[in-house]
């Protein structure tokens, strides 16, 4: 069962990736539409950030993780290097949990 699940996930994911690429090869988009598609990717990723930072299952994720991601946002805004941003996020979350913050 687990193996079947893994295969379905793998094949389904590749299918999605391929279908986007094939569609693109068949249709040519005007620059405006292309810009919109790029925006679509950014909007999806931002939504993914919000959901993975702030929720756990269907409820709120506590304080430590959102705080860590907020620090990451602040550092990204100040143009800090990528590795610094990621480590600061994990470090903040870990430090808060060490202090007993959920």
């Amino acid at each position: 069962m687990v193996i079947a699940g893994i295969l379905i996930l793998a094949v389904g994911t590749f299918g999605f990736r391929l279908s986007g690429r094939l569609l693109k090869a068949r249709i040519s988009f005007p620059p405006r539409a292309r810009k919109l598609l790029e925006s679509a990717a950014v909007v999806l990723l931002a939504a993914l950030v919000a959901v993975s930072a702030l929720t756990q299952g269907h409820s709120a994720a506590g304080v430590a993780r959102p705080a860590g991601v907020a620090v990451a946002g602040l550092l990204a805004w100040r143009k800090a290097p990528f590795l610094v941003i990621v480590l600061a996020a994990a470090g903040t979350t870990a430090a808060l949990r060490l202090c007993g913050v959920p």
């Binding site: 069962m1 079947a4 699940g5 893994i6 996930l9 793998a10 389904g12 994911t13 999605f16 990736r17 391929l18 279908s19 986007g20 690429r21 094939l22 569609l23 693109k24 090869a25 988009f29 292309r34 919109l36 598609l37 790029e38 925006s39 679509a40 990717a41 950014v42 909007v43 999806l44 990723l45 931002a46 939504a47 993914l48 950030v49 919000a50 959901v51 993975s52 930072a53 929720t55 269907h58 993780r65 860590g68 991601v69 990451a72 946002g73 990204a76 805004w77 990528f82 941003i85 990621v86 600061a88 996020a89 994990a90 470090g91 903040t92 979350t93 870990a94 430090a95 949990r97 060490l98």
Partner: protein
Amino acid sequence: MYVFGVSYGAVAVTGGLPLWVPAVLSVLVMAGSSELLFVGIVAAGGNPLAAALAGVLVNARHVPYGLALPAGAIGNSRIQRVLGTHLMNDESVVFALAQSGRDKQHAAFWACATGVFVTWPAGAVTGALLGGVVHNTAAFGLDAVFPAMILALVFPALRESRRLSGAAVAGAVIALAGTACGLPAGLPVLLALAALVLAW
């Protein structure tokens, strides 16, 4: 990516799954959030087929990724096309789109894709091995790594356009509302696309 891989492998093993599950998933699926979701559902006693469908739903966002990525970013040889399609994920797409010009996009895509291809499975295996030893991976704040990483990657695009940041914030709110309403994982993120009207 390696750090996120470590947290994912550790979560899988501490959830009671054997080491090969995160390892095989990381190579065959190559999409972190869906794998984490799959592992989370199965470890919680959920049906693996339902978990796979949830993961596939989360990965529906790769259709617009494929549409957004310029063909030249991946390349023309057969190997590049097949492997490049498989390695088209959150990180490699943002990295490539952040560059201007075909050559730079191509270089950025493959640099990131190769990095992910190596570090993601390596991280997952390391995490799975660690997870057998250390039980409370949340204590290291590893769950903050994935959102922080994606945030750092989309930030330059957001900084460039006020309209796009508005749409991104609206999309985030839609996705959060959808999650709070109990929609199945993956669907709320797709619904965020409705916010695109603000970027038009």
